[in-house]
Symmetry: D2
């Protein structure tokens, strides 16, 4: 659908707290939502890559939306990922999310298959027609192994098919080209690059979806406010501190676990150490961080002025 | 689970016939199953890449299994893909497939995420424990963008966690190394490379899953029988004819549609021209082949001695 | 060697003008050097990717250095690429360049082979020991298909092995991490990304090596001066104009020529239209742009306020 | 040039023995040539990837050709690599090799740059016109990061521009398609895949260029003779033994050295252990294998029935 949405600001992509059985830890998820809202975020994005959505069952995905919508209680909008390989599958997720109260849904292009740019455009057109909430396109080639074509995004923005773009490509040239090309449209452009958020905002991004915002939402809220006030010196300094904090993702022994477990495991470990969630467990089959890795993360948190409880 | 299965021979990965609304064309699917069984195949593989499983909804996936199991009627086993990004999702699909009568289920490693080899091993262990049918590992890096690590496959075969491997990597060196390394296990090794099936069989493969078998199952059955009889000259000649037939996937105008639509669209176009299915439509968002592309495919079919009805 | 060099500012990577026989057009090269120096650049970088160095013979490479050194006449330093696959080959080029008057030499990591990060470090150590001019590391994964490892760069900066880094990776996160990690060293960090030069300068880059500076050096000099003065609004606006100008690389019909010919051919076409060089020819085997492509480039130049003579 | 050459059989790609200073160890190289000729090979290929040509200086490359031509003394032809990034550079190498007595020269497509298939065709046309010896195209995407397009190879074979193809892509489907498409031409097709040489010969390959032939040339000569005699059972068994021997490339600790050093270092270590060369050193900047890695390689050699002297 083509209803425009005034989304913007800081919308962190929530991790998904799990209990010892690997099921949704709803109490931790509620605490996480409240923790983020208290920090002043402008929305909650559940079911994204940081939420390990690729590793959750459908019922777990829906439970996450329910908890987030309920905890947010209308204070901030809840945006829900509808990440899947093909159009029909995305539509099923998107409809379920909309029914559960999501203010917008987020979809990558098709993956597993190898589509043409015109087929990517058609993918979003079909999704947009099928749901009653705004659709946000999600460019994350590290996960899908293919870029959303720049021309396709511009075409979809001009036709009003997509209401937003979450860019996690790390490519600020394309990001800038898209911002310039869609300046006359209603497209809301979000950066998913938590390490150059200040630069993206300077280029005119409407908002940020920082994975590291799970750990230090206050930092990203401060960064966003400084940017909005045109105080780029403060924004840059805050970003540099957050970049140093980001080194928690380099702590894990990569001869033992993969990149996803190292990065998302570090976010969860930090949330656990801060007392926000009860267990730093990742979804199957990812393996958890171990004691000395948690120690190293605690040391980084303390170094960067983040309070810890464990 | 670890029940061994005597799977082998020709098990084509069925396309999924669709009607004008994009829904499962059950009559065409029944005809396709019967067409393949009549040609002498040893099993039906539904829900694979050739079946556009990445583009089908869950209900469509399950309808396909139901129709195949019902049409096969126990004459040949039905193997079902349980293709998804993560362990919990694969388990849900696998359980549904087993309940519907699938004789075995097929899973890739995790994708969208970036797992460590040990996490890939754990993925299959968890799936195997969760279902009562044999699990077949599926190596298709062109879709998942990551190889199943050779050592992981050997470890999973030795522990009896996986009952089979479907290899669509195109890498005959690794294929051979795995065959040699698992010779003392019960692992059943299948090639998904329809263009070097004869070579894979010569290396000791237990079976073949040829996408082009959708178009000319008789050819692959003849190829398999010649190989089983040690008549490699006939097997090679049959394979060369099939390789020429395979050029139907090069017919489409790639400035208009992507690789998946070009290849699977060609299979469906050929099935349509042969009168097996009623419509050469691909799943959304893939775009269909057009008239002159169908003409070119018809010409290739005729050239290679395949009867056409349209 | 470890002599530090105060390199910085705008150092465009010169294209290599060729005559109808594919030999160096020395008159055009002299004009190009003078054109750039007149615009106020701080150095000339010959033998880089924009100079088609991969396609030039050794004698052509050396002729280019001679002409540049002679034309510069000490007004600005000449930096010379020593791009080749392995250490011994790079050393031969680097020694020849130093002997001809290059103020510094530029080398990628080894390519064609697959080195370990420690072998990359050793590569630069051996080069540095072998030559009497500063060595600049060059990260251009689009050409070499491998990144210079971040830790290797930091280690080489700390030991004083490399005097500079030219980053053409497009990855501003790694760029920023390197700037922060080497802040206490003498490393001079240059961006090769002509589309986000303003952002790189804001992050603290010491200089810029913009390929598009071949076409509009005045623009990049203005951008650099605005940044140095802390006038980021002007820097951003200038960059946005240059980004629109950069669309000349999208003009060529890519069904006919490759990406390198499209991009470098566009730079040369623009230089030709501006009257700086006599022929818009690329090095063999690249195919030239054709008439209507030149027309489209002329239109873009005019649109962005660039004077043309043809 | 278009003179046809009757090349075929076993033409191993020689390693380049180096002394403690990293210079060509001519005595070892002579021993290696004699060792291979005594085993019954049909030619010597110097300056290929196994010869670390990317890491040798021009003078070292030429010294290698001189020693090989001199030692071969006309008993077998010497084929020389002319591996470089661009056309002009390849032509310089090719002319030098031809002058030194090479019977044919070998070139990849352009790399470092990103050429169009038509530019690849032009590359080989220009080389062929420039030299008086046959030109062999070399497809090694693991090194150049780009495939030689199948259609380009067929076009070049049909026009007589190239006399041969050395395929190190590992893709037996394309290999087979090229063999079928060029059956009516004079193209000589060689496999560079030492692990599926038997299969390539079965498909009709005219010869083999096995890197592992540096270690066990007798094995590949036996394999080739069995294949020529139609004794595929013997050919397959010999290949399986050689595949087990090939595991020497998996011995090195990859946390310490890269893939190239691990593989070529293993070949050189085995040659050293067999007494053929005097030192198992790789070219700079590659790091050498260490004692326990040599022990592991010795154990594999002994296990596979290869005599060792150290």
């Amino acid at each position: 659908m083509s209803i425009r949405v005034g989304l913007g600001g800081v919308i962190p992509p929530l991790t998904t707290p799990l209990d010892t059985d690997g099921e949704i830890d709803t109490a931790s998820l509620e605490r996480l939502c409240s923790f983020l809202i208290a920090a002043g975020v402008d929305g909650l994005f559940v079911g994204g890559s940081s939420g390990e959505t690729a590793l959750l069952s459908d019922s777990q995905r829906y439970e996450v939306i329910d908890v987030a919508v309920s905890t947010a209680g209308g204070q901030v909008p809840v945006v829900a990922g509808a990440v899947d390989t093909g159009t029909a599958r995305v539509i099923d997720h998107a409809r379920a999310a909309a029914k559960r109260g999501a203010a917008a849904v987020v979809s990558t292009g098709p993956f597993y298959v190898a589509p043409h740019p015109d087929e990517v455009v058609r993918h979003f057109e079909l999704i947009s027609r099928a749901v009653d909430v705004p659709v946000i396109a999600y460019d994350i080639p590290s996960a899908t192994n293919t870029r959303l074509p720049r021309d396709a995004i511009v075409e979809l923005a001009e036709s009003g098919t997509i209401a937003g773009l979450k860019d996690s490509s790390g490519d600020l040239t394309a990001f800038r080209q898209i911002l310039l090309a869609t300046a006359d449209t209603d497209l809301r452009v979000f950066t998913g690059s938590e390490t150059v958020t200040d630069l993206a905002l300077r280029l005119g991004a409407h908002g940020q979806v920082p994975g590291l915002g799970n750990v230090d939402p206050d930092g990203y809220v401060r960064l966003g406010r400084a940017a909005a006030a045109g105080d780029w010196r403060t924004a840059n300094a805050e970003q540099e501190r957050l970049l140093r904090l980001f080194s928690i993702i380099d702590v894990a022994d990569r001869s033992r676990i993969g990149f996803t477990a190292a990065a998302l495991g570090a976010f969860k470990a930090a949330q656990y150490l801060r007392g926000v969630i009860s267990l730093p467990r990742c979804a199957d089959p990812l393996l958890p961080l171990v004691g000395r890795e948690l120690d190293a993360i605690r040391a980084i948190l303390v170094r960067e002025g983040i309070s810890v409880e464990r």
